[in-house]
Subunit: 307 residues, 2 copies
């Protein structure tokens, strides 16, 4: 039990914030955690399940006097929240966030923050397809990566080190990266895969010659994996694509190029090209399992137990 | 324990055949199961782990005297195997298969089979990303669908009913469908999703500005789901795309069209279009979970336990 901050404010109480709260409690990392959510229903639910030591009725009330304020709202809402809390921020406090895009968050938030407040953006690479205040759990960040993206070269080293200690205390591994590289890496490992999954599910839903009931019944042959990703929060993902436009479009362009090459191999019957391509892609899977970033159990372990 | 066949031969001893063997034993469904695999190493491994009551050194030896012969080899190898076993097939025997494509298997196999042998193609929609004789387990087909595709309208009704009983005995739900519709449905629920997953993994691997080590470390943000699918058996998937060319290219065309529409929405900043699309795709996920075809546990249940 190492106390890292006396008071932390979580603005927005969805999957990430609620998991942070339970991870903070598990580690005894913070004296008091305040929370705020935009809708009355979410605040009531949070009070009911004991999420946060104190649930406030405005972002400013939650942020006042906090040593760390973490913006856990969709990327497109960060700027407005920063503007609202700016007047009450304590000198020397740190403002951070958990957004999936970093350059646009820096551009939206930084101009509002007063002199003497440290801005240290961050992005925990963890989540599930569930959302809302009840979806969080203390183990979400265990052995997952959190990328800290100092907003500029003058960012206070102590503020970065303290935020790093909090994330490590919540179970995460921490890396630092600049905002543009972060946004490109995430376009590859997260944003483009999500867009593709949404697209595939949309195509299946829209195809008149195959019924929805057939798609559902026969989904275990591969399709259902895409539907999990495509069940993620629509507001969050809309904002991700609108704010990480350039990197996503770049990776989509590469994706389409490769897809067309494979499509041509299918059309011309070039089995060697297909075989070589499909062999190559197995290596990355092995790397991910060796790095502890996924399970080696067949079908993610969700199937019936092995004999 | 209802005995459905006296003798069954499994030609090819990979994930599906080995799971069939364990499921047959679990249910006591067959008197004797013979097996054959092309490589000596696989046959030795099968003998070592007790896979099949008798492992034979040729497909013909395994098939001789069998009441049911199931071809469990890649789609592209079905024709040659059918030709090899044709001379030893018992009058009144049934030949079936487990291939992921049906029209081309019918075209490759049917011409070789002698008069008086029933041909009843089938396709169990189950699998994992693992392959080989050691990857099978008795529960693989539990509550999964097996599609029986009678090769023509004269297919013997009793032969179909008996094969259905075997699959039901192994835990599967059974549907019947014609070959062309099967191939289209699978292009949507399986073949195109696999090609897309392979493509996405290939793009990530090939991108010089993001290292493989970054892709691996940060894969939990969505990408790792694709790598599981893209770790499937390359030979099997090469054959699927070469033999279900038309349906796969049709669905890929639809996919590209949708992807371009979303890409344009990103480029023009059309948040309403994105939000509406992402909301719509959630419904299919709910349908799949309600139909018992996937788990509702976050992240397929592979993550840390919920508090």
């Amino acid at each position: 039990m190492t106390r890292i901050y006396d008071r932390v404010a979580l603005i927005g109480l969805g999957l990430i914030a609620s998991s942070m709260y339970w991870a903070i409690k598990r580690g005894g990392l913070v004296g008091e955690v305040t929370g705020y959510a935009r809708t009355e229903a979410t605040r009531e639910k949070a009070r009911e399940i004991g999420l946060c030591d104190r649930v406030c009725d405005s972002a400013a009330e939650a942020a006042e006097g906090a040593d760390l304020v973490v913006l856990c709202v969709p990327v497109g809402a960060m700027g407005a929240v920063a503007e609202e809390i700016a007047p009450v921020l304590k000198p020397g406090a740190t403002v951070s966030d958990v957004g999936s895009v970093k350059r646009s968050v820096i551009e939206a938030v930084a101009p509002h923050l007063p002199e003497g407040v440290h801005f240290v953006p961050a992005h925990p690479l963890a989540g599930t397809e569930h959302s809302g205040p009840e979806s969080g759990f203390a183990e979400l960040f265990d052995n997952r990566w959190c990328i800290i993206v100092p907003s500029d070269e003058d960012t206070d080293a102590e503020a970065v080190a303290t935020l790093r200690a909090l994330w490590e205390g919540m179970g995460a591994n921490v890396d630092e990266m600049d905002a543009d590289h972060h946004d490109l890496v995430l376009a590859v490992t997260s944003h483009t895969p999500h867009l593709i999954a949404y697209t595939m599910v949309g195509v299946a839903d829209d195809l008149r010659r195959v019924t929805d009931s057939e798609v559902i019944k026969y989904s275990a042959a591969g399709f259902r994996d895409f539907t999990r990703i495509a069940a993620s929060d629509p507001t969050m993902w809309r904002d991700v694509f609108l704010t990480n436009k350039d990197a996503t479009l770049e990776i989509l362009g590469r994706f389409t190029e490769e897809l067309f090459a494979l499509q041509r191999a299918i059309r011309t019957g070039d089995g060697d090209h297909l075989f070589e391509y499909f062999t190559h892609t197995r290596a990355i899977r092995r790397g991910i399992i060796e790095a502890g970033q996924d399970t080696d159990a067949p079908d993610f372990g969700r199937g019936a137990p092995r004999k």
